[in-house]
Symmetry: none
């Protein structure tokens, strides 16, 4: 028993040092997106690559493998409450993943994706897929190699599952496809009837002038009211909004401001603050342990989408915040009734750009990407054929055809960064959000009345206790089942969308 | 010969990796002073301590010692131009210093000083020495341990010299004391006659309203005109202004703004930009080699003080910049003639705050700190007695007694950061600056006429060629002797001060 404890302590200490170094990588990454002077890019790449190599080396150290095996073979420590087993499970999962990848492949992927991302920026600017194609070909080839190395080389594993597992531990493409199909079946007719509705909100009010300084103040105050701690975090600007949890007491959000587009920054900040509440709600004592981080990207996204959409785009939320919004932006909003504003921020219409899509059509964007990337990894779709396949999918699912690749298959950064298997977590996040929100409603009573009074403490506390503090103790599917009493389903999301949008569009 | 080259390459590669990791420490340090949320302090201390330990371990690796010894014993590479020898000299110096320090002490110092700095910020804000005292006690105890380890434990070395050598390679406290005494002998009577002069500039014009946004713009534009590249650098705010060169293409300045005190931020930025020009003038190809950094802190300070005082507080500088200043700050300066402004920014009078002190009294502030920190390291002064000793010294040297510790012994960040032995480099820097500036005048002709036209290229280029690009190729004393033809002397500084201030005060 004493021996077990010593081995366990050694495992946790090695892990903690590696993740502490990993948190330095996050800091460098944040700085790169916010304050790094242009001339420092090459030096920053050298720093990042050095750290990435060191962290990888530390997490694949043979001693770590020995410790994990010894602990698996030994007795559990006395009074183990599941944390020991979860740490061991997660350490094994990550160690195995990392050690299955040849160093050459890791280095090559790092090099190629770093160049490919720069190239993608240019290609997107010029809407020139031909320019990006050779890079996509290289990346798909490398990711196929990675998927097959991770899936155990003919051991019966599904290659795409191995990629998915990086972002959503334990998820299987076949199961994701099934739940996506069910969701799609409900969404397509809903999009259709909304498109046919005579009711159309006046969205022009959202592109009036919203001075930047007032946007910053308003967004920060809303983030603080829902519970994001600025004692333990910040809000800065970056070209692509993100949230980075660097460790206990340090979580940083970014956004971008457009003086003639209110929703971008405001709902962007609510979204990132939702991620931030998760990071700030993790158990600080568990930092650096295998289970000390968020359960999965899907669960992470459930938090951001819940605060952005289920809370932030609700009637109740604006009952509290709309008078403040009118006071902050009198020029734009003084003469706009709350109902008109509420309808405008919930405008539904098929569009080309995923990150600007409404709650209803958003998931269709994800399904298209999921379908295409599975085909790419299976070798059933060639990178050269992506634009045609992309456009065909949009035409079929949303009834619109991108006029150019910048508004089509070149719009997202993910593939250029080698992140295949990442997209599904966005739609999973929406479904997790709906199912968790439904459970929160049951547990907490009249959430709307709380929101109308500006009281977000019950929801935040419930999420912290049931989701945040547990970290990675449970795989995402089990976590949701544990909280809501049933496996993940598309139904709560469909129910939420119908309950919200049918009245809005007079259906 | 081929063997020598291989050993040398291996040495440089190990060194480069360690310094690249060291540059990550700089990044974390900069962030700590600028954007770190308060709640992240403890986590940041953990990160810093981890990196400090790793860098220390890498720079004390036995293999490095073997390589240095083998290269010292072997032949020089063909065509060696002094760079090989200088790299070897500097590698030996640093390796020997570091191997004398136990890793535990290095990590402990990093951890304690990271926390102490956060604490100092609070203590200074509240002017509460009692709050800071336990941290100062910890730090002094650790620095005494460090000094005695470095001095070789009874090997006859002077402990304080060992601390000094960190910042000013090769400097000895006894020699510094001697040159300080000579300088003091000239300064005290000069301060005295100026104090007795009937001429007093109207300094109230400097505390009129200078809107912050205009201060930021004006300071940035001046920094750019003297040659600081914002493509390769930034200017941010921090409680204590500093310059951090993180590596090629990334050099960051900070300052602080007071809307009712013009000189603080403006000359602060010129000062830090002077440091920045040094960092930006280093040979980027030499980054990561033992001689790839600045020669010493004294030489570094010579650059900042030269741009701040010898250039920035000159008549010629304001011939160019004053019309712009009047246009930026019409409310404060429209009715002020240039001579009055020039006299005001060169006001000499005993004051409490070192960083705001004039050129004449500044060095007396340094001598006080040098005296006190020698006593602290010798154990002749207890940290608890610092406020009383500090105030007594100010009363004696400058005839004024700080009314509170925020304007006394809590004003500087250095001790909270463990930087004992650092202060003397400021006064050395002033003397280096005077001696180098005298040489520049001889080499470049009528500098004043160039400055009046806003042309700072000749001086900057001369400094870059003679000082910046050489990095650490020569020890500081030899560098100055090489450029100016004689060893460091207090006389050029005294001559500069007399030539400038005697006419200003009608002496």
């Amino acid at each position: 028993m004493a021996a077990t404890q010593a081995l366990y302590d050694e495992l946790l200490e090695l892990w903690r040092k590696a993740l502490l170094l990993g948190s330095v990588q996050s800091q460098l990454g944040w700085d790169e997106q916010t304050y790094l002077p242009p001339g420092g890019a090459a030096h920053r790449a050298d720093q990042m690559s050095l750290l990435a190599g060191m962290v990888h080396q530390q997490l694949t150290a043979p001693r770590l493998g020995e410790l994990i095996s010894a602990l698996e073979a030994g007795e559990k420590p006395a009074g183990s409450d599941g944390v020991f087993e979860a740490n061991l499970r997660e350490a094994r999962r990550r160690y195995d993943r990392l050690t299955r990848l040849p160093t050459r492949l890791v280095e090559e992927l790092t090099r190629v994706t770093s160049l490919a991302q720069q190239n993608w920026v240019e290609a997107r600017k010029k809407s020139d897929f031909a320019m990006f194609r050779p890079w996509l070909e290289k990346i798909v080839a490398l990711k196929r190699e990675e998927a097959s190395a991770l899936a155990g080389g003919g051991g019966g594993g599904v290659p795409f599952d191995a990629l998915l597992d990086e972002y959503e531990p334990g998820a299987k493409a076949a199961e994701v496809a099934k739940i996506f199909a069910a969701l799609r079946e409900a969404l397509v007719p809903l999009v259709q009837v909304i498109a046919n509705s005579k009711k159309r909100p006046d969205v022009s009010i959202l592109t009036r002038r919203y001075p930047k300084a007032a946007q910053v103040e308003f967004a920060k105050s809303a983030a603080a009211v829902i519970g994001f701690s600025f004692q333990d975090g910040r809000l800065d600007e970056s070209p692509h909004p993100f949230c980075s949890g660097m460790g206990p007491g340090d979580c940083r959000l970014t956004t971008r401001y457009d003086e003639h587009h209110f929703p971008g920054a405001f709902f962007g900040v609510l979204h990132e603050a939702g991620h931030g509440l998760y990071e700030q709600g993790l158990d600080p004592k568990a930092f650096g342990t295998p289970i000390g981080e968020a359960a999965s990207l899907g669960i992470h996204e459930s938090q951001s989408r819940m605060w952005e959409n289920f809370v932030g785009r609700s009637q109740a939320f604006w009952k509290h915040f709309y008078p403040q919004a009118q006071a902050k932006f009198p020029e734009a909003l003084a003469s706009v009734p709350r109902d008109g504003f509420y309808a405008a921020v919930n405008d539904v219409r098929p569009s080309f750009i995923r990150v600007e899509a409404d709650e209803v059509t958003y998931n269709l964007h994800i399904m298209i990407r999921f379908e295409l990337e599975q085909q790419l990894i299976a070798g059933a779709l060639q990178p050269a054929d992506v634009p045609a396949a992309w456009n065909a999918q949009y035409t079929q699912a949303l009834g619109i055809t991108p006029p150019k690749d910048a508004e089509g298959c070149l719009q997202d950064i993910h593939w250029s960064g080698g992140m295949l298997g990442y997209f599904p977590t966005y739609a999973l996040g929406n479904m997790y959000a709906a199912q968790l929100f439904e459970a929160a409603r049951k547990a907490l009573g009249d959430l709307d009345s709380q929101f109308s009074k500006g009281d977000f403490v019950p929801l935040r506390t419930w999420l912290k206790d049931n989701v945040h503090r547990l970290g990675r103790q449970f795989p995402p599917g089990r976590l949701v089942e544990r909280i809501t009493g049933r496996p993940l389903s598309h139904q709560p999301l469909v129910a939420h969308l119908k309950a919200k949008f049918e009245p809005l569009y007079g259906l």
